[in-house]
């Protein structure tokens, strides 16, 4: 596949992620921060996000596994996940976190567990999408092209 084509594919894919709500405007901001002096900025940040989120999700799982659930702690974890996912622009993950938080407040254990599942699901989904996107970017760069600047016009 030639570069132009790859680039178009990349753009379409990115747009779809936005349209489907996986990513929001914040991701765009990150992309705009990326420049020649920092060509891998987005990829770096996102991988940081992945690491951090998986840690948080593990902690959350453990927290909800306890006999005596510490909702405060769980809330703190989810709050952080909410913060980092919103900073990345992972919109759906963020929305799930918001729901989770309110469930935590209600101390509804079952609902919390279910919601946690949902959060994890959304997380892995967006992780998958982003990894695909980065894969495309790498291919473009390997083929000598450059990543187009995304401009959301919808």
């Amino acid at each position: 596949m030639e570069v132009g084509q790859m680039q178009r594919q990349w753009m379409d894919y990115t747009k779809s992620l936005f349209l489907e709500g996986y990513l929001d405007g914040q991701f765009l901001q990150l992309q705009q921060l990326q420049d020649d002096s920092n060509p891998d900025f987005v990829a770096e940040v996102v991988s940081l996000f992945f690491e951090d989120s998986e840690r948080l999700l593990n902690d959350l799982t453990n927290a909800l596994d306890q006999k005596c659930i510490d909702f405060k702690k769980a809330d703190a974890h989810i709050h952080q996940l909410k913060g980092s996912s919103s900073s990345i622009g992972a919109e759906r993950v963020k929305n799930c976190c918001i729901i989770f938080r309110s469930l935590c407040e209600e101390q509804n254990i079952d609902a919390c567990i279910r919601c946690l599942q949902q959060v994890k699901q959304e997380y892995f989904l967006v992780k998958n999408k982003l990894e695909t996107l980065f894969g495309m970017e790498q291919q473009i760069v390997a083929a000598g092209g450059s990543i187009p600047k995304m401009e959301l016009s919808f």
Partner: protein, 674 residues
Amino acid sequence: MNPSGKGSMSTISTSSARKAGELVPDFPAGLRVLVVDDDPTCLMILEKMLCTCLYEVTKCNRAETALSLLREKKNGFDIVISDVHMPDMDGFKLLEHIGLEMDLPVIMMSADDGKNVVMKGVTHGACDYLIKPVRIEALKNIWQHVVRKRKNEWKDLEQSGSAEEGDRQQKQSADEADYSSSANEGSWKNSKKRRDEDEDAEERDDTSALKKPRVVWSVDLHQQFVAAVNQLGIDKAVPKKILELMNVPGLTRENVASHLQKYRLYLRRLSGVSQHQGSLNNSFISTQDATFGSISSLNGIDLQTLAAASQHPAQSLATLQAAGLGRSTAKAGVPMSIVDQRNLFSFENPRLRFGEGQQQHMNSNKTMNLLHGIPTTMEPKQLVNLHQSTQSLGSLNMRVSATTPQSSPLIMQMAQSQPRGQMLSESIASHVPRLPTAMAQPNVANSVLGRDGIADVSRGSVYNQIPQTSPMLSFPGNQTTEVPINSFPLGSTPGISNITPKSNFQDEVTSGMKGSGGFAPSYDIFNELHQQKSNDWELQNVGLAYDASQHVNPLQGNIDVSPSVLVHQGFPSTQQAGQNREANSIGKAMYSLGEGMDQTNLQNIGQNLNTLLVDNSVRVKTERVPDASSQSNLFPEHYGQEDLLSAFLKQQEGMGPAESEFDFDGYSLDNIPV
């Protein structure tokens, strides 16, 4: 807006070389930002964004690290951005620390956009609150907070009524106009703190930072303010209308706004004091320690505390401020409520009242109570007067108290010292007889000196004498020296209310004195910062004066003496002239009074004092004086005077530490016109 010409700063990299208040030529580029967030993702994104804004970024993921960084590199940062939820330390706690210790603008941020959290940020003094995810556009403008802070400092200076201090040339109005427009009321605390800190630092470092004129909220001015507020109704009192009602030339809406803020805090404190007492006390004590490190002779404890307090004005201020601002002060923990302590005293009742009042941060209400609690010698009428005066004092105190626990600390001190005071009272009582003759000379001197001494005068000498003066303060037996510092709003009534408290603490009083003295240092700081020494001075003077008077005539002369002393002070204040330590001057005046005065003279002095106070109308004192004089019976009533003195002293004490935090402008007695 480069306030100073120091200009050399320049490059972004030489942050350490930059002094507080200096801006790089290509500002806002090069703004030194410290960002604290435990979320690595956010931290990285923020860092990148800030770099894109051409700021100089330092990031850390722990609050403790951030604090030590800030402490290590004094003036190494211009602004701090911190997350609210952090594992090792609450973001608000960090905010308080920074505000107290470094007085830098702090921006809070969080994914939490709940109203309560945001409100918490505001009340803790954050200059802004960003909701995550943070956009770069939001970060592009953070420099405005740095500018605004400095601008407010300048503005205050310009507005300052104290001509001697006002560095009018430093008018930044032109520059400031370019930047943030509306006064950021929320930042007054920061600015004030910053001012204090800056001035403090500047003083210490001997940097030639531009002197920032401060608005001097003299007793007079404050009374006008309170009158305006009462007229409008506290709920409806908006700065604009207050300003119109006050009709004071040169006063800006911003000044009024920040003053109103303090006033409101003060009122709030008054109402919610009890629980703070303990904490306040603690903080107070700690501050006291700081301030009075140098004082030693008197009650040792008090003095020391005070001295200690003075030495760390920033700290105390921080504490006080924190307390005042509602942050958690480190110190807290007053073991016994002032009331309890008061009970220890023989004259307990009045004291208790005052103590409480003081605790209350000098609630005006409290002062009222104090008045009631004033030792028997005070007549109801006088008490009423006192009330009124204390009210004004209270309001003044408000400033102080509003600022923070300072008043409480003072009270605490008082309370604490009460036990000691008691002992002192006894001893004092024995001295009392002496006093009349000596005219509290030693007392005066002590008290005065105590005040001043602490501040900068011969601490040692003064204090030594103080024990003697203690009697004055404690006023034999009855003095409910409890005069809450609160009650000593600043001027007028301070004597009344303050006196009492003061006396109680003979030891404490001394401490009070010391406090005053000790405060003097803090006041000095204030003074320097605020150039409103008058406030301090007034308080101190008043206190001292009263103390002296108390001694002199256990019943009568004291006040008289004080006035005269004060008068002298006022005039001699010029001796101290450069020092805002009006207190010092007062002390001196008092001292001189003491020496030469005899009962009659004292009486005269009393009158003079009133006059003096009146004269100081510019300063807080003046307000009081008229009250005092009008209520002159107060004075004659020794108690009134004594109370005032003690209250005043207390106030001084309280105010001292508070001042620093609150930017004790206007409350200083600095202007006792000579």
